[in-house]
Subunit: 418 residues, 2 copies
């Protein structure tokens, strides 16, 4: 029997009506001949209520107890979804993490999958059950305690089940109807993609397109799980949403498939740093130790202070998440006080944004960067920092130009047309 | 290490403040040198919310899924209580039914205990944990599915753990401060009992004193678990509340220890029934088949219709719960239509109440019934039906005299004085 995994997030199961709506989508797939594993989140708001209680009770909480409390939200939804399906005449059974069992590491609140044995669910499917409703976001650790998976855990649960059960597809029902070439709020020309490659989705996910958690896409890529993102609230059919799949499945890919952006960036420049071997390590080790996630890095020869210094000097520029600026500043000042590095000045610019173009077609096409820079130059947008990967080019620009840059790049790479 | 079981009901853990208050009572026992097993109910209101969702989703719900959903309320409290104790510096761990495991029968929503193995909790106590917080009301069935125990399940869980772990005592924290000689709302002379025997408590529990569920008292009596009922909201010490214990522990018992009452009674009389062998069975079998709980039964020779009948005749009077009157009437009418019984008339009296005196001292003291009847006669209260057991005498009277009867009996047996 072919098998599908269907995942419904918190807003898709927020109340009994929405659970019924989601169950109807499951029923339709059963009628098409699928066995279905449904992964559910907690009803929206419930997890926050539980987390609030835990944090109020114990600010430095024991993660084992946090997991035991917080996982209960998903258990409730799983039972209610199974009952709703039964009420529709679909043989269904709920499964909590320990019942499957979903074996994870012992890292409470941030556990990772170890193994999902198929025997228990397979037995129930063999007995004529058509649907297994599994509580997402949770598992059981080696010590027999309940674990949770951390942010995005339910998406990751869905992908893990799809991999373990050789699912034909893993459908992620959410509150958007697919992946777009860029944010439709920024340009009405944004177009929904029919397909997108795992690698592209990963770049988009980590760049701030918040539809799928990076971790679930990584797992899908590793196990070649075909992921489909589609809306819980629309009528959906076989072709709805966006399929995230192996690039082999995408016949003819454009050079660029999406334009992503992030406002949550800050640029830090260390002015007049000694240009010697090992200087990069001296700067970035203290930042790493302080838990600062450095993203883009540029080093450029500075002329202006040359005469004051023995040997050559450089300016070092890097970007960090805007909420880590203070931590980064302190790490640099401490490193200077400890004599590990020296610089004349530390300049913070929080009025920046990152704009990126992403596409697996870049690998085989030259000139993408030149086309990107020209499009920005035509709008008189100054580029402050550049970084590239095999399938992505990112630039840091003044934040006030962000929307303009996204629109210009969307046009320049012809993303409006399918 | 001596061990205590402490059970907190829904109102005792209704919010984080009350959980903290309950945890302080646990901490105090730990400081006295006890290992403690804490049994918790769901925060008050939570179980009703969950039951409401299930019933709305599926009026004829699958009891397995009902149990999976409804048990989650206790899991939340268990985790929060463990966190609260940890925050106070008490090493504590939460336990869900399947983790202990609490093995039950497969009778979902009305499961019974099969076995509670000690190994897992004993191991944790051995590792230095002082408190195991166990989710009440739940267990795990032979098929690995979650079960619940039905009404009063958390009290019963507490007693079962006290039996399995040879607890020195099982303290039931509730919203009253003990067991009284009668309802203090009926007479201000009602006195809190220091001790009461299991058998007496059983009679009082089933007679409508709603502090402890009958089932938990039965279990306590079978395993000789010393039960203490005391208030969650008062300051409590070693001598607080009422100890429910074996009668051997009660040095000098009064003849009567309590006066119970129930308004939920109705009296049914079948007038002019043939008085032949087997007539009782012909009447009470159809009632039992219809699920009617017959309580008191009286058969008395009726003179008035004697001449109309061949052979002797009788009137048969019995009492049933007031909400089963219609069902009882239909069962009798059907039995008459089927020719199984015959009677001239069926008279229902719903304006009655049952008043009982209870005491293990009755076994060795004659004259209790006479003293009871005289006390009622002195108040001109007419007795309609009498039934007795070894340690209890119950009478059915007009409901309007109920409070007066309770007060008169409380005085007559000197219950005000300790």
């Amino acid at each position: 029997m072919p098998l599908l995994v269907m995942k419904f997030g918190g807003t898709s199961v927020a109340d009994l009506d929405r659970i019924r709506n989601a169950a109807a989508k499951v029923q339709r797939e059963v009628e098409r001949g699928y066995d279905v594993i449904v992964i559910v989140s907690a009803m929206s708001g419930k997890t926050n209520e539980l987390v609030g209680w835990v944090e109020k009770t114990s600010p430095l909480f024991d993660a084992r107890e946090y997991d035991a409390v917080v996982s209960s939200g998903e258990n409730v939804t799983a039972g209610l979804m199974a009952l709703t399906l039964q009420e529709m005449g679909v043989p269904a059974r709920s499964w909590q993490g320990w019942q499957v069992p979903i074996n994870t590491t012992a890292a409470h609140s941030a556990a990772r999958f170890v193994e999902i044995p198929r025997a228990n669910l397979d037995q129930k499917f063999g007995e004529g059950f058509k649907v297994a409703v599994v509580a997402g976001f949770q598992g059981i650790g080696p010590d027999g305690r309940i674990t949770t998976l951390g942010r995005g855990g339910s998406d990751t649960t869905a992908v893990a089940f799809a991999a373990a059960f050789d699912a034909e597809r893993c459908d992620i029902y959410t509150d958007v109807d697919g992946i777009y070439t860029t944010d439709p709020r920024i340009t009405s020309k944004a177009r929904k993609l029919g397909k997108i490659a795992f690698e592209e989705m990963l770049e988009l996910a980590s760049l701030g397109a918040k539809v799928l958690q990076t971790r679930s896409v990584e797992l899908a890529m590793r196990y070649k799980v075909r992921l489909r993102v589609l809306s819980s609230f629309d009528e959906t059919d076989e072709s709805s949403g966006t399929l995230v799949c192996d690039e082999d499945e995408i016949m003819e890919s454009k050079v660029v498939n999406g334009v992503a952006y992030s406002r949550e960036e800050a640029k830090i420049t260390l002015v007049t740093v000694e240009d010697r071997p090992g200087i990069s390590a001296s700067i970035f080790e203290p930042l790493a130790d302080a838990g600062v996630n450095v993203d883009m890095i540029v080093q450029n020869i500075s002329e202006k202070n040359f005469e004051d210094h023995q040997g050559s000097v450089t300016d070092m520029t890097f970007s960090v998440p805007i909420n880590q600026v203070e931590r980064a500043k302190r790490a640099m000042e401490d490193a200077r006080a400890a004599g590990r590095i020296d610089y004349d000045e530390l300049i913070v610019d929080t009025e920046v944004a990152k704009v990126s173009v992403v596409g697996i077609g870049m690998r085989s096409h030259a000139g993408v960067a030149a086309r990107m820079f020209k499009a920005l130059a035509d709008e008189n947008i100054n580029i402050k920092v550049i970084s590239t990967s095999e399938i992505k080019i990112s630039v840091l620009i003044d934040r006030k130009y962000m929307e303009l840059a996204v629109q210009a790049l969307h046009d320049a790479f012809g993303l409006e047309a399918a």
